[in-house]
Symmetry: C2
Subunit: 453 residues, 2 copies
């Protein structure tokens, strides 16, 4: 977690800019804005309420508009685009590289997308359509087509001359890709080798042909793991017939990691689509309302369970006082197991081979904590209500609920995976429903059996 | 979140390896192991229960032992190191680069650290002590000292000859650093420029002196934001007097991002230190028990609040049935606001300038959802218990609790930041304590006032 110092710079700039906006000296605002990097402008836009955001967006230079649109979150981007004219959008698109353009176009309405494609030259359009033909979360969707390719049968010296002729290299280029005359991928030659090896050597003798290319259909999560495990900066992407299509660069991989991490945190609170902290109230309200509704249904289920025991509650009011404790402890303990297992799944550490081992381990941890905390809870309950039986009942209920919580925390993610549901999204609700129901049934059921009459 | 395909490869290898381990054909296990990258071996070790983990660790080649130790999580690393002899640890350390060595040494007991430092040559020891003198979460702690530096007054041609003489470049080198004779940082020259510009030009005329270096004391979160905003691969690190100390590479930044993201997810479940899914039961139990204890205290606080109203509960048992609904809806709604605000703080989107705006917005969203869902809850309550008054009371209590939840969700992260406490760790507990207490007080208090006699 960032410490408090982290937010200082943006916060200060924001303060200054917001002072300026209020005092209305537009010239000064323009000067501050133009000194910023597109990513910093994007940060600013995201931290402004709608009215001020629109004002600042008006001031942003058209030439970097496209880059800024790329850097803001999807939701903020849509809100900015919705106020723009078609020709303004096309102008913003013009300043972008092909891969960035592909990302950008995917967030446009279909008619605008077609219009933009029509306005492009043939080669760029073909490249763009290639990228757009792959899902956004595949290697093909992540790749860009800014490649420098060379042939295997030329000396390094010739490559040097070729690069000097080009005058510049695409950003993040750390290796050139070696292809045959049909465009098939053969290997890579790093700039390091190019700079350190004898200029008379052939590319064929200097290149690394052991580095296998990424298939365009590989899922983006596998791509991320590959980049992380092998510390890559760029990697070649090929189609099923080994034809070189493009390359993936580490900056896009970092974006995927960041998005994934955000997605899991936000999903747990039912906020997977809510990334604009200043989205219109009604829109936010509707999205969050859905989640509240789901939780309301589970809360009523718990109430219904309690309702089965009104006769018992009527006789011993202390049960109503103590019953939330059993349910809440089960929820907390279960969430701990659930969080660990979901993380283990994401990292590929948890699978069919070790689920039984894991289940036993979690049950053991739950039993240990169940024994310790049930003693504490029982002691407090006895001191409070001067009744040994009530202490025994709550202790037994707590141990039962913690064991069920551990089992649910291990099993739920596997079942959801099988059903192709994201455990980070649905796991928490299902778990607390189970721990609530079992908590109330165990506590009130045992009380009905042993404390009444 | 990764889809189910992601875990296939590791899972399959794991299955094969675990079959092999069980059948006891060590030769075959060795062959499979030796075909893996250190990062993949690390993945495998993390997914094995203790007994099998120790067995596989025995089989790992000593030469790559150091690299594997670096790739596993801190907790797993400690468990592996604790079983090793001092000389084995020193042997594992030998294969590492200086920056990796620094990370590795920081997880060793102090005596071993001193021993390793003594065994190194003078230059490496000086570099290492430089890195170790900065906190782990600062630019200085992240940097490595694998630099290629050049002087400004030489032609590019000479740089080319120098690099060919070196024969290889440190991993991730995408630019050379230009320093004066005292080692002061002057600028960078990218490999791209080196390859594309006239060999007779001087470094001074080709270098980029507008790129400012990172101060070694900058916090790692600011470093991450810089790398993300500017899409960096490497960046120079200097001390307060502008002396070039080292460089930061993108792979270490990716690790920080991953760690941060994990930290926030795990913190929310009180698991900030629990990263080894196969840690000993007693150890896990103790750590998680602390969190359960904290939550038990808050649960008893809620119980105590309910206990204030036993007279009311004694007369109207329906209240005991419905009361968890008000508390739980408040907890859910508050968590949504809390999650958004913590994320906004981390991204620097939320600060002093817009907190009031944000508070108003969240209250509006809460009011909207409060009105909608209180109608639903009231309708169900009336149908269930045939009592209009109870419907009115639960509706009013729900609206009150959602408004308080929204306010708490906005305010808590700011207060915790001021107190230098991580909101991801403590925010959730404090929030649900507030929503439980207010939920029970509002519902049972209003019922006592309006439903009794």
């Amino acid at each position: 977690m960032p410490d408090s110092a982290t937010q200082e710079p943006t916060d200060e700039r924001l303060q200054r800019l917001s002072d300026v906006l209020e005092s209305g000296t537009v010239q000064q605002a323009l000067r501050i804005l133009n000194a910023l990097h597109p990513a910093e402008i994007a940060d600013l836009l995201e931290s402004l309420p709608p009215r001020q955001r629109a004002l600042v967006w008006e001031l942003v230079d058209g030439e970097i508009g496209g880059q800024v649109l790329l850097e803001v979150g999807e939701e903020v981007r849509n809100s900015l685009i919705s106020d723009m004219q078609a020709d303004e959008i096309l102008a913003a698109a013009e300043g972008l590289d092909v891969d960035d353009l592909a990302d950008f176009l995917q967030s446009l309405p279909d008619t605008l997308l077609q219009e933009t494609l029509q306005g492009m030259d043939k080669q760029n359009r073909a490249r763009l359509e290639e990228i757009l033909s792959y899902p956004e979360d595949s290697a093909g969707g992540l790749m860009d087509t800014n490649l420098v390719t060379v042939r295997a049968d030329v000396p390094l010296d010739a490559v040097h001359r070729y690069l000097r002729m080009k005058g510049e290299l695409p950003e993040h280029t750390n290796q050139l890709f070696v292809v045959d005359r049909y465009g098939n991928y053969q290997g890579v030659i790093s700039l390091h080798r190019l700079l350190t090896q004898d200029p008379d050597a052939l590319v064929a003798d200097t290149m690394d042909s052991t580095i296998s290319a990424i298939n365009a259909n590989m899922g983006s999560n596998d791509v991320v793991r590959l980049f992380e495990d092998l510390d890559l900066v760029t990697a070649p992407v090929v189609d099923d017939r080994n034809r070189l299509l493009g390359r993936i660069t580490v900056d896009d991989v970092v974006d995927v990691i960041r998005d994934e991490a955000e997605h899991s945190v936000l999903s747990m609170a039912g906020l997977s689509e809510e990334r604009d902290i200043f989205a219109p109230v009604v829109q936010s309200g509707r999205r969050r309302g859905v989640w509240l509704g789901v939780n309301l249904a589970t809360a009523f289920l718990a109430s219904w369970v309690i309702g089965r025991f009104t006769a018992t509650l009527d006789q011993i009011v202390a049960l109503a006082v103590l019953m939330p404790i059993v349910a809440s402890m089960g929820g907390i303990a279960g969430s701990q197991t659930l969080t660990l297992v979901i993380r283990g799944q994401a990292l590929g550490q948890v699978g069919r081979t070790n689920i039984r081992w894991l289940l036993n381990r979690e049950l053991a941890v739950a039993l240990l904590n169940g024994l310790v905390w049930s003693l504490v809870v029982a002691a407090i309950a006895v001191l409070w209500f001067h009744d040994y039986a009530i202490g025994a009942v709550i202790a037994a209920a707590l141990i039962i609920n913690l064991l069920c919580a551990a089992a649910a925390g291990v099993v739920i993610p596997f079942v959801l995976r099988q059903l192709d549901v994201d455990p980070a999204l649905a796991g928490g609700v299902i778990l607390t429903t189970i721990t609530d129901v079992i908590g109330f049934v165990a506590f009130l059921g045992l009380a009905t059996r042993f404390l009444l009459g």
